[in-house]
């Protein structure tokens, strides 16, 4: 058996801006530990000189003409925001 890699769920959850309960942290550490053990077998493959595949579409750096088009109206965009006022999305104060 390979040793379980050092997954610190509490730390990673903070990076992901996700609050977890202590119970969730314990559960995920167990479950994801087993998943990480399972994927350890990738390390025995020799991938020297193999190019990574980011996606399989044979297109790169797609651009379009730089001309204005139609897009969501301000009202439609703000209409789905949890809080808005004065044509702005309202969030808690970020600068003192």
């Amino acid at each position: 058996m390979s040793s379980s890699p050092d997954l610190n769920v509490r730390h990673v959850a903070r990076l992901a801006r996700l609050a977890l309960t202590d119970e969730e942290i314990t559960t995920f550490e167990g479950q994801l530990g087993r998943v990480l053990e399972h994927i350890e077998h990738l390390k025995k493959l020799d991938v020297t000189g193999v190019e990574p595949t980011a996606h399989t579409s044979a297109v790169f750096n797609v651009t379009r003409e730089d001309v204005p088009g139609t897009s969501l109206t301000r009202a439609a965009a703000l209409g789905i925001a949890p809080r808005s006022a004065n044509n702005l999305v309202i969030v808690p104060k970020v600068v003192e």
């Binding site: 997954l7 769920v9 990673v12 959850a13 990076l15 992901a16 801006r17 996700l18 609050a19 977890l20 969730e24 995920f28 479950q31 994801l32 087993r34 998943v35 399972h38 994927i39 077998h41 990738l42 390390k43 493959l45 991938v47 193999v50 190019e51 990574p52 595949t53 980011a54 996606h55 399989t56 579409s57 044979a58 297109v59 797609v62 379009r64 969501l72 439609a76 965009a77 209409g79 789905i80 925001a81 949890p82 809080r83 999305v89 969030v91 808690p92 104060k93 970020v94």
Partner: protein, 482 residues
């Protein structure tokens, strides 16, 4: 004649002969939905009066004129909810149409209803929906498969003639197999994902569910094509995907990957699939044993790449611009942390954690970059295979629909259920599941799916092969006893 049981092609015959109208059909389906939904629970919502308005002015001369199509709740339809079966999008109303919806409307179709799914398409059973558990129309104690379980169950229960789903690692083909309908995952780049709630952007494709291969081809005709709003969609020559239908299997070379017939799969499923493959041979196909040597790594590669991409895609659900926001946040960090804690379910959280971890500083090369390299090896396996064969034939799923609740506490076991479908997404090729018989479990007849995998952008041939098998086998004529 029960209008709810007709295929799209049969419906179109009825429209043309003026035997019934699009409004008659929609009313019949609404009655059928009302009767079936207390058991099946495939629909999260639907707007009958709105759909009836479209039916009343439908132009049946259009390619899909007057045909109601159920929509997985992950594809935006303007003015309708789109929750991705998540609490974080409860109350959200789509302000725009996905490109596939714009195209369906242009083809005369009626987008009808929001179909249940695993939250953010993460799952293999639709049990991860935060709203309801969809049941398999063949046995209501079992799951319909996932993540597009509602899309498969609605077609199998004759609530709609066809539907759209999305397939990131098998989410169209696996539920199609488990519910006994036909499901197609197009090649990566064939269909625009603009307006699809993104899960794993290098893997996601939208595709159709229907009762026959022909109907899937009709839907692919309508939804495919280059779209400036999705830079991965390709500008390919116009194609009629029904062009390969109605042929036979004579001289077709079918590859049998030895890695897809493994210990641990349900032996009755294996026997059913082997019988189906022999039937292909009897119909003239040439069987070729092939090897896809990196198959055993596909699930691991997938769960690194898919969770990594998901952790980035789901960062947009921050409670700021749309969707749910936690009450009375004390600062912006608290708003993010609690909105996401309250809005996401367990499986989504689990995958965000795994994805964030494999991308985090110090682990990126060991996990994500290595997985991308192994992905290249998996692609090459398929490229080599298609030098020898026209298509690959194998099981869609190692098992039949399993009982509700059986695997919810064992994510690894749930992930391994996708073993035969994942590689197609990693390789970007097209794949389809077609019914190939039944096995009996506990006195109940459960459907089995046969998977055909075609090389990238070879959908016309793939659909032709599946249609030929469907014709000789006749399994698509079976409907759930519901």
């Amino acid at each position: 004649m029960d209008l709810a049981k007709l295929t799209i092609s049969q419906i179109q015959d009825g429209f043309r002969a003026k035997t019934f109208t699009p409004s008659d059909l929609l009313r019949t389906l609404e009655l059928r939905i009302n009767a079936a939904e207390p058991t099946v629970q495939a629909f999260l919502s639907r707007d009958f009066p709105e759909a009836l308005k479209l039916a009343e002015r439908a132009d049946v001369s259009l390619p899909l004129g007057g045909i109601p199509i159920g929509i997985k709740d992950v594809i935006n339809v303007k003015g309708q909810p789109c929750t991705a079966a998540s609490q974080i999008l409860r109350g959200y109303t789509a302000p725009y149409d996905a490109t596939v919806i714009t195209k369906l409307l242009a083809a005369g179709a009626i987008p009808y209803g929001r179909l249940n799914m695993d939250e953010f398409a993460m799952g293999s059973s639709t049990e991860n929906s935060s709203y309801q558990v969809t049941k398999n129309p063949w046995d209501a104690t079992r799951i319909p498969g996932g993540s597009s379980g509602g899309s498969a169950a609605a077609v199998a229960a004759c609530e709609v003639p066809a539907s759209l789903g999305s397939d990131t690692g098998g989410s169209i083909r696996q539920p199609a197999a488990l519910c006994g309908c036909v499901g197609l995952k197009p090649s990566y780049g064939r269909v625009s994902r603009y307006g699809l709630v993104a899960f794993a952007s290098s893997l996601d494709q939208i595709g159709p569910f229907a009762r026959t291969t022909r109907d899937c081809a009709l839907l692919l005709n309508a939804i495919s094509g280059r779209d400036a709003m999705d830079s991965t969609s390709l500008d390919l020559p116009a194609e009629d995907f029904t062009a390969g239908l109605g042929r036979d299997l004579k001289g077709v070379r079918l590859g049998i990957p030895k890695e897809y017939f493994v210990d641990g799969m349900n032996p009755k499923v294996r026997a059913t699939v082997e019988t189906a493959i022999k039937q292909c041979e009897a119909a003239g196909a040439e069987l070729v044993e092939i090897s896809l040597p990196h198959t055993e790594y596909a699930v691991s590669v997938y769960y690194i790449i898919a969770t990594a991409e998901a952790s980035a895609n789901l960062a947009r659900f921050d409670g700021v611009r749309y969707g749910k926001r936690a009450e009375a946040p004390k600062d912006l960090m608290d708003l993010y942390l609690r909105t996401r804690e309250e809005g996401f379910g367990s499986e989504v959280k689990r995958r965000i954690i795994l994805g964030t971890y494999v991308l985090s500083s110090g682990y990126y090369d060991a996990y994500y970059l290595r997985a991308q390299k192994v992905r290249t090896l998996i692609r090459r396996d398929f490229e080599a295979a298609y030098e020898k064969v026209d298509a690959i034939v194998c099981p869609t799923s190692p098992d039949v629909a399993f009982p509700i609740g059986e695997r919810t506490n064992d994510p690894l076991k749930m992930y391994l259920a996708d073993i035969f479908t994942i590689a197609a997404n990693l390789a970007g090729i097209c794949g389809l599941s077609v019914p190939c018989g039944f096995v009996e479990e506990g006195g109940v007849k459960l459907p089995v799916g046969l998977q055909f995998l075609g090389k990238a952008f070879d959908e016309t041939r793939l659909l032709g092969i599946a249609d030929a098998y469907e014709t000789v086998s006749g399994w698509t004529k079976e409907t759930a006893p519901l």
